[in-house]
Subunit: 310 residues, 2 copies
């Protein structure tokens, strides 16, 4: 596999995505009980962008080169399992009640609500199992425990799950004047719901590659900025995107009364915020003392999060 | 606190239960977001028997004395969080659709389905966070990682979640002749659904207390036997118990078409199996090379699992 220091971006993304995909398939090659695993595979192996896994690998390789890729690949897959678990539960009728995801019926539409709830639970457990038992011995045990602790924090009440609770509280509240939503409340919700896992992706890759304190802090900060930018881009896509490229119904957030960046600030102001985050992200990276090629790969991932069309 | 070697059973159970209860309250003293934590507290702090936590502490103290209690208390609480998470999800309308649990309305009846799903998810995350970040440094890091890996295995597809999937498959299948359910299938379902976490409780306590291989294997085997006995006793209680002591509607399993021990083997044969497991459990304990008082405490826990009235 070509090193991060000697490749162009598309080659990097394609090769690392293939690596992640193969590893995900391997970790999911179980059939006991058969219908549970089928349901788990259905949601994980559905052609996701694997952005979080790529961020984890890119951070690891930026800090520790080729050798670090093997140290971080189990973690990169664990992140994708946690992400899939959160999508399955968020799509449930009791939550966002979504029928489509990435252009396909959502998990509960295919396997029923009970199996969807259990597939989500099992994917969360699998994430932890893969991280703890498949991260190679070359990673210090104390570092692996720190990464494990941060992953569950990014997942639970301090992270994704807490963010979903706040999101629900902000959704469809007819008694709430939309121009009076405190931007800080909106940002805090997004920082948990999507930001925490994206920040973790970068931080964990660096940590598993034995990054120093300065690099950890710079890449963590970069992750926070990228996570927020990713969410604003997502909200913009909901109003400007098309069904075909999105794989889900555009305008869904608006119709369901979701409190999005675009609803609170409008399209122009949201775009301006994205441009500002782009600058801040590049600055955060500069302080991480990485060599030029690694820096460029991470910048390209930031560009992608901001300018993507799906 | 009186040592395990110098107390009577009721004193041991009362003091350790109080210790667990205090620690659970402390770990749950968070309010962000407030409604999520309220919902989590509602299900955990509802007067459960804390059998799993007591098994973990008893195994730890039997192997390592007073000092081992501090090594295992975070794990004991983590097990209770995982247990509460599984009860919340199993009670959901899409699953067993239970309105009452321990004499109180189930989580989703009070907080709604969405919050109940998220409270379960957050409790699973909290379990892992508490185990990984609150287990003292005196525990070897490699042992803590092994315990973490086994807890998620006992929780996911190989354990609780997989068992619930099999349970659902066996439930209410009008096309299935109840006398033709393979006893091995029934036992395998229970081994996952309730057995895996109970076995883990004993094994993890011993592991955190640096048990040798012989003790680990003997206490693991004891845990398997106790877990199975606990489930058969549970099925018997469903047909012989009363609403007041059970805290739930007796006959519920029968009415919902659950495949239970009693339905498959009848009351008498189930009782005979319990007596046999009682003997096997005592034999397994004998091989663990424990001093007499610790042995007696663990035997008393087996007696309790078999002879309890709720």
């Amino acid at each position: 596999m070509v090193a991060i220091t000697k490749l162009n971006f598309s080659e990097f993304f394609a090769s690392r995505r293939a690596l992640v995909e193969d590893q995900l398939i391997e970790y999911l090659s179980n059939n006991d009980p058969p219908d549970l695993w089928e349901s788990m595979r259905y949601s994980v192996l559905s052609g996701g962008k694997r952005l979080r896994a790529l961020l984890c690998l890119a951070a690891a390789e930026a800090v520790g080169g080729d050798e670090a890729r093997q140290k971080a690949i189990a973690c990169a897959c664990a992140i994708e399992f946690v992400h899939a678990f959160s999508l399955i539960h968020d799509d449930l009728p009791a939550m966002d009640n979504d029928d489509f995801r990435r252009g396909r019926p959502t998990n509960h539409k295919v396997y029923g609500e009970a199996m969807a709830i259990l597939a989500g639970d099992a994917l969360f457990a699998l994430a932890m199992e893969v991280l703890v038992t498949h991260t190679p011995q070359a990673v210090e045990r104390e570092a692996l425990l720190a990464v494990t602790g941060e992953l569950v924090k990014a997942t639970g009440s301090h992270g994704m799950v807490g963010g979903q609770v706040s999101d629900m509280a902000l959704t469809g509240r007819a008694d709430m004047q939309i121009d009076r939503v405190d931007p800080a409340v909106l940002e805090s919700m997004h920082r948990r719901k999507t930001g925490a896992l994206i920040k973790f992706s970068l931080w964990s890759g660096a940590k598993l590659a034995s990054a120093d304190a300065n690099q950890l802090s710079a890449l963590g900060r970069f992750g926070e900025i990228l996570g927020l930018a990713f969410q604003i881009a997502d909200d913009l896509l909901d109003v400007t995107g098309e069904m075909e490229t999105l794989g889900k119904t555009p305008g869904k957030d608006e119709a369901s009364g979701k409190t999005t960046w675009v609803r609170v600030f409008g399209v122009e102001e949201s775009r301006a915020r994205l441009r500002q985050l782009h600058l801040e992200g590049r600055q955060a990276l500069q302080s991480a003392s990485l060599e030029q090629n690694s820096l460029s790969v991470l910048e390209a991932l930031l560009d992608y999060a901001i300018n993507r069309s799906n």
